[in-house]
Symmetry: C2
Subunit: 362 residues, 2 copies
């Protein structure tokens, strides 16, 4: 690990013009559902419609599609005439690839001048039909899993502006949802707030971002610094967290993001029904940390880069609990931590944003 | 960050045959010094000769070279006839590139069938003359900064075998040197020990390894798990540490390596003459942690993946201190921590290996 300021130069078939900028998507979107059979495989598209309805102009569904996002159905030529900027793959395939059945639709969209946006592991430019169509029309092929080409090493230099980061006791405990709910609540109150996306679905919802888990590890905190640049002192970046410091598979990403984010405010996301971490190997069970232990583990690292860092709330997944039990649980977390504990899906993020304002004055 | 077991697929012009294996170099080596003017720029080659003299068959020096590694001077044809396996670039250039003056020599070596090994940021295969020569002879072009093509996500599953990891209060505090000194001391005592390299110079010395800071961040702990695979219960992997948990630029790499290494034994490397961290941005000073604070920060993460983890010693850079002062300093660290504190350059690693044996019984 050398100490000079460096940049990485990853070969990238797409988005060569992004330079030092994060991915930037072109709205409005045509959401591609293909022939998806269930909402579980359509979460990306449905999330985009939920969180960014104003950016979703229509949906494209093949024969046999069983999902309806509630948008107007548009053909590719109708979408092009209507000024749609991008077709966004809103479905996940088994195996994470792009099935043959999609390739023709995506190539037709590219030929019609629509940017094609994918969160798949495979790259759009590796499909000759799609690549040729994009070259012919000038449309961009955007793989949101491909990080920007040139990333800096983190500096640790404090930037102006306020930052809130969601952290968690595990993967998949609502860090993205919580950040989006907080951004929405802040905006509803007239605060100047931007959701900052660090994963593929978040990037599609935000229209920009950096896929932190795809970044070369030497540039992790530098990427996080770039993601939430210097801003006005009353501006909030609400940053989507990744992984967990206690997770033996992904904690490196979590710590790089924590250091680079320099959070003023932290929200801990937790699923009380989960006893062991998700995603570790067969035959090994890692207990999920208690909320107080998880907060105690996280805070010193946050304060290393921002002495003012503090927790402002808990976001708790209570979907597995009956109403009376649910409220008792939230009350107990509030007593244990002295912080508001909410399930943002049921309660919204109002109590957390109240606390943010009372603690930071912004 | 998805939870399924995945592999990364980085475009790589070289080492396509490594598959799931780490880089593997072919000895013996011809050390390339070019026309280097000072030992500071020849550290890689000199380190290789210091730590692996048995693998170094000769040196290649151009007119005007001011450095002598003490090896026999060999031309490329002499080296090829002598059965040399690889030419290793043992010098750093200003800017990290491969100057025109080297390209002819490296192409000639490749044409003669020698593998070419480089720790530069630029890739050997991007130089048409070198690439063509390698294609013609079948020689391999090995960029040790290029990680293996397919890496797994970390599992957290405990592997058999013993592991020692060097950690530090900062970058550049002797983590590689300390690990090499411990491996040597263990081998001298008849223990079964292997140095595991995580940076480019370490990889050249070891002949294999994974450049952790070049790995996609989602695969950090998986790469570290792969680097020190399951082994006999009396076998020691002595793993070269990277960065520092307290370093806002590089802590993600440090934590991924710590989790993936599952260390039984930890050695803290420290430079008492250093007040602030190296390598952070202009205008910001991060105090170096005390040795006790650094150990307290590290140990819970190590115990997450290996409940038996403990510190077994301190490796202290005392080069800035007079002898009396030096010994007082080491005594003070021993009192503070209850652990042996040595400068491995002056004292060797014997006291640390004594402690390893008494604590682990291996």
């Amino acid at each position: 690990m050398s100490l000079a300021s460096r940049t990485e130069d990853l070969p990238s078939p797409v988005a060569r013009d992004t330079g030092l900028a994060a991915v930037q998507l072109r709205a409005p979107y045509l959401i591609y559902f293909g022939d998806v059979q269930d909402t579980g495989h359509a979460k990306t598209g449905l999330g985009l419609i939920q969180w960014r309805p104003e950016a979703c102009a229509g949906q494209l569904r093949s024969d046999g599609c069983q999902v309806d996002g509630g948008l107007v159905d548009l053909s590719i030529s109708e979408a092009a005439r209507a000024g749609v900027g991008s077709i966004v793959i809103g479905v996940a395939s088994e195996g994470g690839g792009i099935p043959d059945a999609w390739v023709g639709d995506l190539a037709a969209a590219a030929r019609a001048g629509l940017d094609v946006v994918s969160g798949m592991h495979v790259r759009l430019g590796d499909f000759p039909g799609i690549a040729a169509a994009a070259r012919a029309s000038g449309a961009r092929l955007i793989d949101v899993r491909t990080p920007p080409q040139r990333l800096p090493v983190g500096t640790g230099v404090k930037r102006p502006g306020k930052r809130l980061l969601t952290v968690g006791t595990d993967c998949a405990v609502g860090k993205k949802y919580t950040a989006l709910a907080i951004e929405r609540e802040m905006r509803n109150r007239g605060l100047d707030a931007d959701f900052r996306a660090t994963g593929q679905t978040g990037i599609m919802i935000a229209g920009s971002g950096i896929p932190l888990d795809c970044v070369i590890s030497d540039f992790l905190s530098g990427a996080a610094e770039m993601l939430s640049p210097a801003a006005a002192e009353t501006h909030w970046d609400v940053i989507e967290g990744q992984g967990a410091l206690s997770h033996p598979s992904f904690a490196g990403v979590t710590l790089g993001l924590l250091h680079g984010s320099q959070p003023d405010a932290l929200v801990l996301c937790h699923d009380p029904s989960r006893e062991f971490l998700l995603g570790t190997g067969a035959g090994v069970d890692y207990p999920v940390l208690s909320v107080t232990d998880a907060m105690a583990q996280c805070l010193p690292f946050a304060r290393r880069v921002n002495p003012d860092a503090c927790f402002v709330g808990l976001s708790v997944n209570t979907s597995m609990f009956a109403e009376a039990e649910r409220q008792a649980l939230l009350d107990r977390y509030e007593q244990e931590t002295g912080l508001p504990a909410v399930d943002p899906i049921k309660d919204g993020a109002g109590l957390i944003v109240d606390k943010v304002s009372s603690v930071t004055g912004v």
